[in-house]
Symmetry: C2
């Protein structure tokens, strides 16, 4: 606000950039893939490790189950991708899971999905950044030694970047994402070549460790339960898949088809990388444990608290490329960067979803206005604060945070797919063209399987992870659900209260005359301007009103009023206790009592100043009086501003703010008038 705070703020948040008006920024597939897929692709950096980690509970021999779990994850991934390809065709408007649920299953389901997604965004930030820090730490030990601090520093940097309104740029996303994908594929190829063709014996840094099984000789139900848990953890690879379905409007035309193709591409890349990393991990004898300090043994003794468990991707890279080699460091850096970009995705998705929810009056409606800096800023700070809290509470341990993560994802998957089944049922009722019907029936089958499978996974996740942290997510969802329901209820109640009656308006809205009062404390330019404006308005009665808080001053005011020949009667009210507000409000009320059908127009000269501290020094009694008058029926309150020279500053600041770039703008795509007009968009009711 002030010059004082402006300089550091400008350094941190930056001068607002001129928006290039979104219009020409539609994304080609090769750019859309990294923009939307950095989140799901980056999850292969931690998901394979999580599978091994859970299996290790039954000892190293259980690692043999990991290919089967990988197969299950691959099937699930194909199911989800196939299902969402139906979504993007059926709902090209970018509403994503929320819109699907809302339209087909009703508002409760919609709010449920939205709550799950909001929690998910928070966790995307927390998990991705924690995992990114772990990956970066495999190359730079300092970072992993100060894990929580590093993670929070990165959250702060991302927050500042997004508050600053840095527009997501395709290239910014493309380079690290493609380096990451290429790097992982090179690692898989080179690893396969060395292992299968050259017969090298590649050894991961942890190859010589032994795992002490926490639960020896698991079998039957217990083993099955453990495998389910490992599968749940592997499902972390699925997070972020729905991002594309939220971003359809940002694609080049044909939007839906391009989005569907990108989705398939993303799915293919993800499963290949996931399986490749698991395969290499088995080949290089990676050892990971849930509690490495106790469960990993070196020469028969636990490695102890000082041991840092490296992420599976970095262990494999060390085995294939050599620890500290150029490719190892490059891959570690790319992995970390992609994970940070995945976190940034949440910074963009959160306001985007917020805007859609605001449109449906589940959130304050200023979130709907594009570029409402204040609203977006609050959202971003909320997101960052919640993520930082989680990172702090869980010691930036991605393994522990992942326990919370997958619930939200699968809640929205399941509800959304169920909604899609309803969608096709509805359309099938009216569709008569056999070819179209066939397509619909096929789509319905895919979505039905999707709903069933993701629902099953959700149950598995809930059962296996509830005590490990999933309950925290559920609490978060319940919080958002209750909050949004309450906000919507409030807007509905107000809207009902405000509804204009049909037919001739009732009498209370039909005032007969206006009695205008100009508030005067002394004679200066603002007062003279206010009096001049008031005269122009030709109200039925016009008088100036001054509150006598100091007889000497009031006397001087009266004399000057006469001397200047201001032809408006000056009324003086006594105020023995030096109050301004009370006598003025009581006078207005007395006028209303005398003639209830009159409207009282109170005209207040106001200074406009440029600095926040000047606000503290001025207009306080004017503001208070205005605040009180607003509660008095039959009153209109007019500010006649007088711009002081310093106000020029504030004006320029306000302009700058207006040219700010809202996060999520690229994903949202440009405003398409025809589509917008035809869509289900509802402007929240209320005075603008």
């Amino acid at each position: 606000m002030s010059k004082l705070t402006d300089v550091p703020k400008r350094i941190l948040i930056g001068r607002a950039l001129r928006s290039d008006r979104l219009g020409e920024t539609l994304l080609p597939k090769r750019i859309a893939l990294p923009v939307f897929a950095s989140d799901p692709l980056s999850s292969v950096a931690y998901a394979p490790g999580e599978v091994l980690l859970v299996l290790s509970i039954a000892g190293a021999s259980a690692y043999a189950f990991s290919p089967w779990i990988a197969v299950a994850v691959v099937i699930l991934m194909f199911t989800v991708v196939a299902s969402y390809r139906q979504n993007v065709h059926a709902y090209p408007s970018g509403g994503g899971d929320y819109e699907v649920a809302n339209t087909n299953l009703g508002p409760k389901a919609g709010v449920g999905v939205a709550s799950a997604l909001l929690v998910d965004y928070v966790l995307t930030v927390a998990v991705s950044i924690s995992s990114g820090v772990e990956n970066l730490g495999s190359a730079i030990p300092f970072i992993v030694e100060h894990k929580v601090a590093s993670a929070i520093v990165i959250i702060v940097l991302l927050t500042l970047m997004n508050l600053r309104g840095v527009k997501e740029s395709g290239r910014f996303f493309a380079i690290p994402t493609y380096v990451f994908v290429t790097g992982v594929f090179a690692m898989i190829a080179w690893g396969a070549f060395r292992g299968l063709v050259m017969g090298d014996n590649m050894r991961a840094p942890t190859a010589d460790l032994e795992i002490q099984a926490e639960q020896q000789g698991l079998a039957g139900i217990a083993l099955f339960f453990l495998l389910l848990r490992a599968f749940s953890s592997g499902c972390a690879a699925l997070t972020g898949v729905e991002a594309i379905s939220n971003g359809v409007p940002a694609f080049r035309k044909p939007k839906s088809r391009n989005a569907a193709t990108t989705l398939a591409l993303m799915g293919g890349l993800a499963v290949t990388m996931f399986c490749g990393i698991i395969g290499l991990a088995l080949a290089t004898d990676v050892k990971m444990a849930e509690h490495p300090a106790h469960d990993l043994l070196r020469d028969g003794k636990p490695v102890g608290e000082g041991y840092t468990q490296e992420p599976v991707i970095s262990q494999v890279a060390a085995a294939v490329f050599g620890d500290g080699s150029f490719m190892f460091v490059l891959l570690a850096a790319a992995t970390a960067l992609v994970l940070f970009l995945a976190a940034n995705t949440a910074y963009n998705g959160f306001p985007l979803l917020g805007s859609i929810l605001a449109q449906d009056r589940y959130l304050p409606r200023q979130l709907h206005t594009r570029g409402d800096r204040l609203a977006f800023s609050n959202g971003i700070v909320l997101l960052a604060g919640a993520a930082a809290l989680l990172v702090y509470a869980y010691g930036a341990d991605s393994t522990r945070l992942i326990q919370l993560y997958i619930v939200g994802v699968f809640v929205s998957f399941t509800i959304s797919q169920t909604g899609m089944v309803r969608h096709w049922n509805r359309h099938l009722r009216t569709e008569t063209d056999p070819a179209a019907r066939r397509r619909m029936i096929r789509s319905r089958a895919i979505n039905t399987f999707g709903a069933f499978f993701t629902g099953l996974v959700l149950v598995v996740v809930l059962i296996t992870k509830f005590g490990h942290g999933a309950w925290v997510s559920l609490v978060g969802m319940a919080f958002f659900f209750v909050l949004m329901t309450a906000i919507r209820k409030h807007y509905d109640r107000v809207s009902q209260e405000l509804a204009a009656p049909e037919g001739p308006s009732d009498d209370s809205l039909r005032p007969s005359r206006v009695h205008s009062i100009v508030l005067v404390s002394k004679i200066h330019r603002p007062t003279l301007r206010a009096v001049a404006y008031a005269k122009l308005m030709r109200s039925d009665k016009l008088e100036a009103l001054s509150i006598n808080v100091d007889p000497a001053e009031t006397k001087a005011l009266k004399e000057e009023w006469e001397r200047r020949g201001i032809n408006v009667p000056l009324k003086i009210l006594d105020s023995p206790y030096r109050e301004i507000t009370r006598p003025a409000v009581e006078y207005v009320k007395s006028l209303r009592r005398e003639s209830p059908r009159d409207v009282v127009s109170v005209i207040i000269p106001e200074y406009v100043v440029g600095h926040w501290y000047e606000h503290l020094l001025h207009n306080q009694s004017a503001l208070r009086l205005k605040g009180r008058l607003l509660f008095t029926p039959g009153v209109m309150v007019t500010s006649v501003p007088y711009q002081l020279r310093s106000s020029e500053l504030a004006k320029q600041r306000a302009k700058k703010h207006q040219e700010w770039n809202a996060p999520g703008a690229v994903r949202r795509g440009p405003v398409d008038k025809t589509q917008q007009g035809a869509g289900t968009a509802k402007e929240p009711s209320g005075a603008e």
Copy 2:
């Protein structure tokens, strides 16, 4: 604000009390004495101890100098009391030292005195509470073991009490003060009786300790310097004397004379108690040291860090009445209570001084309005925060805090007395009546001696205490001085910029026509009311304006507008980026460009809601638009409020706040219109 925060707030701060309108609360002398004198009287609880403490640096033998130092303090006290008796006669308006300095020595001296007094108030809280905790601790060891925490708890309690607006009641002050004074006199009398008549050998708890002199065999300049330092410390007894001169308006008539009598009474009581305690301390062999852990020896060995040095008054009480006896506990409790009341004095004096400074535009002018709860609350929280910080930083050690204390007091004493000399000089120039001249010459002589003596003490204090902490006070004073000067400069600049030109007003203030615009987002009651009111105003042109952020909605709005037959033209502005503010402001500007002499009146329907969270949900775009329009010249912005049912709550809250009791109200006395009109009171300029 909200129900949610209201409940705990009401428990802590309480329901605002109905003010009994101050009018009938003039104080008789027997009540005024405890109200105003709890501060100076309470200082005898620590001042004698400080003298002994400093002397101990040269060993126990130096205690022999203490009677001489007591004599010096007594002379100083008589001088100051005599001087201030002149003040209360000459300046009965309650402006105190600030008014005297401001009137006679100019605004810089006035601001200097005010800065010193503000720092002093902070220190009064810090020192009194620390000392009170030490005294209470002599009866309840738990308190002294958690000294800092106890002191801060008491600061918090006093702060809540004052935020709550508990009116100072005479009785509340009178009982502990009179118990304290009676108790000390009883102690002196009983001690004298036991010692002189009965020949008892009373022994203080520390009588058997030895003092290891930090500086052995001091003589000459060094000894003199030490004696000066001891004297400086003894001057702590003088703090608070000026309180009565600030409170003259609160006395019964004849105000000045009653105030002068009370002052004399207070001085007499204070010196008697001071000397009595020093005498008893010598008679009972009290041993106090600056660093008791090292310098006090028991059987030749230092007592060590665990030793708690009891205040002198409690040691003497233990010797005279017996440790733990009823009188001992009663006196300890009364002492602590009087010290806390002394701290409370600052809570009342701070806003009182702030109000006077605000009147002269050195502080934000809302401080001048009686019962501006927000302004007072900020002042109280500032005072409490600064005091708590000092208490924390100095470990609630009254001895260390006292080093900071006396500077401010003697700065204001000296400046004020110098001002009084000028006052008499000025009056002597015009006075011809020989009797009056004689009186004036006598008064001038008293004030001259006062100025000289207090100035000398100030120099002594600065020299002996600068390094011990007095510099902190000087930094604080400089801070207030710079702040207040800047605020005054700002008000002056604004006032100059606003000054209405004499003669016929210039053209820019003489608009010709009004173009009214009612902002419409949808048709509901607030809109209809705003349109009806706008029609009443009979402006030259009236139109309704809607921003098209959603074509479908806009179309619906247009149709309903037609259907309802609202006979005001509806203008639609396109807004491809869903902005509200920018298109509206640009439209207004374009109107102004077309006809620069027109005034644009923007009428905004607004909801009035009752809870702070409802504010978050409504009117955001209206508020933002209003904010931006105020920067546009030639615009008037009218709010037409529509009161939602929930607004009733907020209205009641606002009423409650209005009936709040401002701290310092009793001291300030009622508003006396004749006096106020005749005084130098200047209402700060600016719109109310």
